[in-house]
């Protein structure tokens, strides 16, 4: 177990170093950083002075080392577009994205798992067949189209819910939350629905196919032969064993939610990190791009490692196998 953790953490570090190197290359070679910092009429001398002051004429490895040290402390320089420290920009936007992702994930699991179980248990029912087909459409439908349809229905036609922004927010320390005001909660409904809908279809299809697989196994047949109630067999035995692969997918889903939040935030003009990032990409604001890349990579590494560890804990077979064959098999 300990060897496994060490291995995972060191793998994560390697990925982070690779990402840091990419971010550094972007920062260093995508346009001249000096150009974006000096005034239009700066002389060559002034430029050279700034270059020396910023350490841009140091050897390459020295510069990379400095970049990594700064990145670990959260320093990514000044945004080209907003003229403000990237650190502050990100810190302002982070709560909005995390609240959105949290509720989208909650929503997709709360609906996706029951729907998956239902369609697996009533495989040939009319409702199940319909759900299967609707979910196929759901997978093929671009997420931004779903968002636009939601706005068209609930904001333009019915005028029930706001279509952009976060509503009123309350600051708790540095965390600005929209959960304490009515307008904040109302604003959260449509974006988290849009972000969650795509994931519901995925989770539903996954739970369904896993459940069907498990229901075919011998121990389920044996449980039925023992005269256990349907309820005990379906939920006590079958669903429990479906949960193992679901954990892996859940981790990937949360990563996907963070990425797809970029689209949701653009549709709803949600003031989160994704919206900041897409603006940075269209203006080629390199410090913001590299900071976002670094942060998201970090989140992904943490999520993936946690999932692997959880998997290891939940599934006893993995532990037995690795104990027998030695730790190098993982």
């Amino acid at each position: 177990m300990f060897a496994f953790i060490v291995k995972r953490v060191s793998q994560g570090l390697v990925v982070m170093l690779a990402v840091a190197f990419l971010a550094f290359l972007m920062f260093r070679f995508l346009g001249d950083p000096i150009d974006s910092m000096v005034l239009e009429d700066a002389t060559t001398q002034q430029r050279e002075e700034l270059r020396v002051k910023m350490g841009l004429d140091d050897p390459f490895p020295v510069q990379f080392g400095r970049f990594v040290v700064n990145a670990v402390q959260g320093e990514f320089g000044i945004s080209y577009r907003n003229r403000r420290p990237v650190k502050n920009l990100i810190a302002e936007r982070l709560p909005a994205t995390l609240e959105l992702v949290f509720f989208a994930a909650l929503f997709s699991f709360a609906l996706g798992i029951p729907l998956g179980v239902y369609t697996a248990l009533n495989r040939y029912g009319v409702v199940s067949q319909m759900l299967q087909f609707v979910s196929l459409i759901g997978i093929s439908m671009p997420t931004f189209v779903t968002g636009i349809l939601l706005i068209l229905t609930f904001s333009v036609n019915l005028n029930w819910l706001p279509s952009f922004g976060r509503g009123d927010v309350v600051d708790i320390g540095w965390w600005s939350t929209g959960l304490l005001t009515t307008s904040g909660i109302k604003s959260l409904v449509l974006p988290s629905l849009m972000l969650g809908l795509f994931q519901i279809t995925l989770i539903m299809r996954l739970v369904r196919s896993e459940m069907l697989e498990v229901l075919r196994t011998d121990y389920i047949k044996f449980a039925r032969a023992r005269g256990l109630s349907n309820r005990a067999v379906n939920f006590g035995h079958a669903l429990k064993n479906t949960m193992v692969p679901l954990i892996t997918i859940a981790g990937l889903q949360i990563g996907g939610l963070i990425a797809f939040a970029i689209i949701t935030e653009t549709v709803f003009q949600w003031p989160g990190m994704g919206f900041l990032f897409i603006q940075a990409v269209s203006f080629i604001d390199v410090p913001v791009m590299s900071a976002y890349l670094f942060l998201v990579a970090f989140m992904f590494v943490v999520i993936n490692s946690t999932v692997d560890l959880l998997y290891f804990r939940v599934d006893p077979r993995l532990r037995v196998d690795s104990g027998r064959a030695g730790s190098h098999t993982i």
Binding site: V15, L136, M141, V156, T266, M289
Partner: protein
């Protein structure tokens, strides 16, 4: 002697295709979309790129069957008085060009890297596969956005609109090579131990020739399946990038650009500018996905 065409109509694959009504429908829908995109200049009633034909008096016309609609503009016009049916025809053409070209690029890159990786082994294999690991651990849309930003950052600003289509093809193609490389690598490792490869070595053929002439044809089956499935993904990614404003410019719109433009006017009640391109996009992707699903099952003997 049966000709090749007769052989095809007699095959298991054609039988399984004909038996599935959904797949046949998807196939014909896709063919209609492909043909209308290919012949857009002939089919489209107007040329949306020709500014001189635009009559601003006719902007924001609703579809022909609604009151106030004009029979010459079947699906209505957008805010710049462009005929919506024509822009959609030309737009799906752009979307499909980007889709096919990026899948082609991903195949060339992925298959070559996969072959090299599986054939060479050792250090080269390790490096290629670690790079692939990094790529696969991030969602495709994020990688495509980053490559897009880097490419546009590396070229002068005034070229952005002209080269938009190239940037899109590169950013989507460079994102999707990993699945090909991984599959082909696995297959190449199996193939390279077989006798016909040893025989090719023995008669003194150059390793490059062995890889591309002898091994490659034997690993292309699964590549076809991945290509079909990833065509849907590629079209969707293009639409998303264009929707986010970093894809095709408004002067040469793809379906995603049209949806973005329509989205800006959502509140003025001009629903048709956003709904029609969305429907075409969704139907296109759905048809490709249905075909991909069928092809995967049909070529996989285990699932029969």
């Amino acid at each position: 002697m049966m000709t090749r065409i007769e052989k095809f109509f007699d095959s298991d694959i054609y039988y399984s295709f004909r038996r599935s009504k959904l797949t046949v429908t998807a196939f014909w829908v896709l063919m209609v979309l492909l043909a209308s995109a290919l012949f857009a200049p002939v089919l489209a009633p107007f040329d949306p790129y020709d500014i001189s034909t635009l009559d601003l008096m006719k902007s924001e016309l609703p579809p022909a069957w609604q009151s106030g609609g004009d029979a010459t503009h079947l699906l209505g016009t957008d805010t710049q008085a462009r005929d919506l049916l024509s822009t959609i025809l030309y737009g799906s053409r752009v979307s499909l060009i980007v889709g096919f070209a990026s899948v082609g690029l991903a195949i060339v890159l992925g298959v070559s890297l996969g072959l090299i990786s599986g054939f060479a082994g050792g250090m080269i294999d390790a490096i290629i596969m670690r790079v692939a690991d990094v790529f696969i651990s991030f969602p495709a849309i994020l990688v495509a956005l980053l490559i897009n930003g880097v490419l546009r950052g590396a070229m002068p600003r005034e070229l952005h609109d002209q080269l938009a289509i190239v940037v899109l093809i590169l950013s989507i193609g460079l994102t999707n090579w990993v699945s090909y490389a991984r599959t082909v690598r696995g297959l190449a490792m199996v193939e390279k131990g077989k006798e016909y490869v040893q025989a090719a070595h023995v008669i003194g053929l150059h390793p490059t020739l062995v890889i591309f002439k002898h091994i490659m044809p034997n690993v292309m089956g699964p590549v076809l399946v991945i290509a079909t499935i990833s065509l849907g993904m590629a079209v969707l990614t293009e639409a998303t990038l264009s929707f986010l404003g970093v894809g095709m410019p408004a002067t040469e719109p793809s379906l995603g650009t049209l949806i973005r433009i329509g989205n800006e006017y959502l509140f003025s009640g001009i629903w048709w500018v956003v709904i029609f391109p969305s429907v075409v996009l969704a139907v296109l992707v759905l048809a490709v996905n249905l075909l991909g699903d069928w092809l995967r099952d049909a070529l996989n003997p285990k699932l029969r």
